[in-house]
Symmetry: C2
Subunit: 191 residues, 2 copies
DNA sequence: TAGGCCATGTAACCGGTTACATGATTAG
DNA sequence: CTAATCATGTAACCGGTTACATGGCCTA
């Protein structure tokens, strides 16, 4: 998914500034399509305007930088439909965590546990966001997409919680020494 | 995940040529980390060799182009561990399908149904590949990763199959005209 | 008063893809 | 006889990120 289509899709839902589009594509409900930065959004918006796919009105607000509010045009809506009509590129899943898991024998248990922990936290946050989205929207398509995401991520979270001990047990085992309590036992008795 | 780490991870498992690495990263079990092309793999391998992280032996086989078989070195293994030890970048999920779903009101039912169909087929294939991988490997980390993938994708598949009618029902409804047969009925009678 | 938020934009850079170049072998 | 597979590599290109430039307002 390129920035172009992303911008059109967002503007199809409602008018927005470049700044708002960036927020939506990083934190908002459009973050599953392409992660855009200012350096890509602003030039894209400018090109879209040249091509007549969007229009803009400038709003000068006293004491604040003026904002350019973009709106999609009919031509833009047509271009969006065209882009969405060709078979979507297969969904992409790229996991840094999974590579850590695959190389578990190379790493110590703490590193793996940290990676698992990070992934679990991330999933929990993501599910939280989607549940919030579900509560706050009336749009049926958003509702459907959010529910789908929640179902998948909940399963992922559940599986990880249930099976994390297995992958953690496969760590490079040179930390075994730590399982047998050191002199501490005696020290406790001594204090 | 960059091509560099990907190459090291693959070579950590076994020696390979650039050609083989490409296959593994596109079709094989390493396809969830980075999709690499020849244009990125060959230069990466050359650089890795210069840096002493891998070594290569050349094998001239009669009637076939000679192959350069790469092996990871101790330094390479250390570099890999280092790369894997820093907290993994959060998993990325990018869905062309989900954007189609979000924009369902813009599209006709057939387009959405095709997108759903494509996604279901893709999930089924993916699950099939992972099940095959599960059967054919003894490596416990591969086993764990494959089982995790199967669990997530099965849930995704199941949810889609159960709820596809909902999103398909949200399509732009101007295709209804097509349900009433056109003049063709008369033409058939005339012939 | 430091840092974060709003708001827009440019320029350098970079990781990666696409297309090209080459060529023998084998399967359909 | 064509297409795919094996096998390596280069050069042009491109989409996108990072860093830079600017600046006022608001909150901790």
């Amino acid at each position: 998914m390129n920035i172009r289509t992303l911008c059109l899709a967002i503007l199809h839902e409602s008018d927005a500034t470049g700044y708002e589009i960036k927020k939506l594509s990083v934190e908002g409900k459009y973050r599953y399509f392409a992660e855009a930065s200012f350096g890509s959004i602003y030039p894209t918006l400018a090109r879209l305007e040249q091509e007549g796919l969007v229009t803009l009105r400038e709003e000068t607000q006293p004491g604040k930088p003026s904002r350019k509010i973009y709106s999609i045009t009919d031509a833009g809506r047509r271009a969006l439909v065209e882009a969405l009509s060709e078979p979507p590129t297969p969904d992409v899943f790229r996991s840094g965590f999974l590579l850590v898991a695959l190389c578990a024998e190379l790493l110590d248990r703490a590193t793996i546990a940290a990676a698992v922990e990070g992934r679990i936290t991330h999933l929990r946050e993501e599910i939280g966001h989607l549940e919030e989205l579900l509560r706050s929207t009336n749009d049926p398509t958003t509702h459907w997409a959010a529910a789908y995401g929640i179902a998948c991520m909940t399963k992922s979270h559940e599986y990880l919680a249930d099976h994390r001990h297995e992958i953690e047990a496969l760590a490079r085992d040179d930390g075994v020494v730590e399982t047998s309590p050191p002199a501490a036992t005696f020290r406790v008795a001594a204090t």
